[in-house]
Amino acid sequence: MGLKIVVLAKQVPDTRNVGKDAMTAEGTVNRAALPAIFNPEDLNALEQALRLKEQHPGSTVGVLTMGPPRAGEIIRQGLYRGADTGWLLTDRLFAGADTLATSYALATAIRKIGDVDIVIGGRQAIDGDTAQVGPQVAQKLGLNQVTYAEEILKVEDGKATIRRHIDGGVETVVAPLPVVITVNGSAAPCRPQNAKLVLKYKRATCPMERPEEGTPYDHLYKERPYLTLNQWSVADVDGDPGQCGLAGSPTKVKAVKNIVFQAKESKTLTASDADIEGMIRELLDEKIIG
């Protein structure tokens, strides 16, 4: 029997290239100022989903993401690698969400998708490093959770057997479906894009990604429905605006500051024998080293 799998994926700013304009005055992230990438551990999750699809004929893999219209790119990246479909949650009401409001939105969308066997995402996103969204989605849906997964060993008889990373070791657990799984970065890397699929889906867009004046490919969108990606607002998923975005976030950012380290008065030495022996004697005399 096929499995219905939803992959949670996030478009994240590449935190390796953070500039001064990365934060807004309100302390939220200014995403427009940063290069956007597919969150690395979400790619590990996508790979586990695609493997399950191969092992269980009739399975489907859909990529669920939340973000501004340009996050449609995450769905395309998923389609290029073998996903079947995707949904972009985009609405101004979703903006400024902390992890709880994000989880509420994703859980609402998963309910709308319906009859999902496995929800799988990366352990955490590199812009926040919180690892909270997976467990919070599971709680909101009333589902079991398995975090820090390294490999889904098998799915049979309505149960998933999963090897997971724990502090100082490993653990194997069995969880009944439906289940929410988060995947650790030590899991298998994701397969590369498939050239045929890139050709098939490269014009696939969400309606909001398309310029108002139209594109040269408008006829394609009429002929090939799969080139129009699902785009959902708060109303589309029957969401409560009060639980979305900034309004639905219990945590508030009080202050943000750049890290400044207290500079010390340091002694600068050369690599000469005299300098190094002098320092060692000084440390020994002051009993700093024994």
Binding site: T15, P135, K140, G168, E171, E277, I289
Partner: protein, 340 residues
């Protein structure tokens, strides 16, 4: 009511150090707020075996939940315990380790109670807050301070209107100390069946394997750390020799770990181990913020770097301008010659 709670993590019957660190911090927060410090621990056959590992850190009341299948940890039963206990006790603050367990449990509990949770805090303080939009003011909120954005900024997070205010903290960030003040030290053993539903035990652990840590980098008084400037895996051999003569441990920067020159579990920095040694010898480490965040509280910092402008030199007490290859053997030689 309105006390500070710490979720205590165990492996078998051994209380984890991160929990003792949090109890120490929790005691200070409770004193500032004028409330009690409470602790909760859940496991199997732990009654009589864990209390003395917890109470000395200044706990006023300890809740011990002891039943089959509470160890190894699974998400649902431990969530049920905390959620139902917190509904009765109404804590204002809940702290847990930013461990695999804490990061699995914390978000599940926070979602159940619709309370805010901040992951991986590096500092916790109590202070006032004014919500500029509503004009409401708060006297004593928990400031949850954490690096964000790959360690490039520090954010202070507050949870004004939801309780408990929840935070996780990584191992080694706080320092544990037995409490020298007075604490009530009451211990209670609630009936687990009144807190956990039988359906919570559907996830089964088939196999649980944990190895003791191979080193004590976190608690080492002297740390020799290598970065990209060490140049090779062989180069690290010299650092191990230096650490051996100084009775210290060896760590590495993210760059050295990524290059495969040293094990991942020896990475020092925001995403690795936080260390507070008496002496920190940084060899060929440039000093990215994410690294400095894991070692800035070291006593004496010695930087060995061929680049006199390396950022780490700013916070170093001694800067030795030279290559690791040249300087480290000399450190070994002159230490051996001059120590008794």
């Amino acid at each position: 009511m309105n006390n500070v709670f710490v979720y205590v993590e165990i492996e078998g019957t051994l209380v984890q150090e991160v929990s003792q660190e949090l109890l120490t911090k929790g005691r200070k927060l409770a004193n500032t707020l004028g409330v009690e410090l409470h602790a909760v621990v859940a496991g199997t056959d732990i009654k009589g075996r864990v209390e003395q590992q917890i109470l000395p850190y200044g706990v006023d009341k300890l809740f011990v939940f002891d039943a089959p299948e509470l160890f190894p940890y699974t998400s649902a039963p431990h969530t049920d315990i905390l959620v139902n206990l917190f509904k009765e006790e109404q804590p204002q603050i809940c702290l847990m380790g930013a461990t695999v367990i804490g990061r699995d449990l914390g978000p599940r509990v926070s979602s159940s109670l619709t309370s805010g949770l901040t992951a991986d805090c590096t500092e916790l303080e109590i202070g006032p807050y004014e919500d500029k939009k509503s004009g409401k003011t708060y006297d004593q909120l928990l400031y949850q301070i954490r690096p964000a954005f790959g360690g490039n900024i520090v954010a202070t997070i507050v949870n004004p209107d939801h309780r408990p205010q929840m935070a996780t903290v990584r191992s080694g960030v706080m320092q544990k100390a037995v409490y020298d003040g007075k604490a009530r030290g009451e211990v209670v053993y609630p009936a687990v069946s009144e807190y956990v539903s039988p359906e919570a035990f559907v996830v089964k652990v088939l196999d649980h394997h944990v190895e003791a840590a191979k080193h004590n980098l976190k608690g080492a008084p002297i740390v020799v750390a290598g970065g990209y400037g060490v140049g090779s895996k062989e180069g690290f051999e010299q650092l191990f020799q230096l650490a051996k003569v100084l009775h210290g441990e060896v760590g590495g920067s993210r760059a050295a770990v990524d290059a495969g020159w040293i094990d991942h579990d020896r990475q020092i920095g925001q995403t690795g181990v936080t260390v507070h040694p008496k002496v920190y010898i940084a060899c060929g480490i440039s000093g990215q913020i994410q690294h400095l965040a894991g070692m800035q509280d070291s006593g004496i910092i010695i930087s060995v770097n061929s680049d006199p402008e390396a950022p780490i030199n700013q916070i170093a007490d001694y800067v030795i301008v030279g290559t690791v290859e040249e300087v480290v053997p000399k450190l070994i030689k002159y230490y051996k010659q001059n120590s008794k």
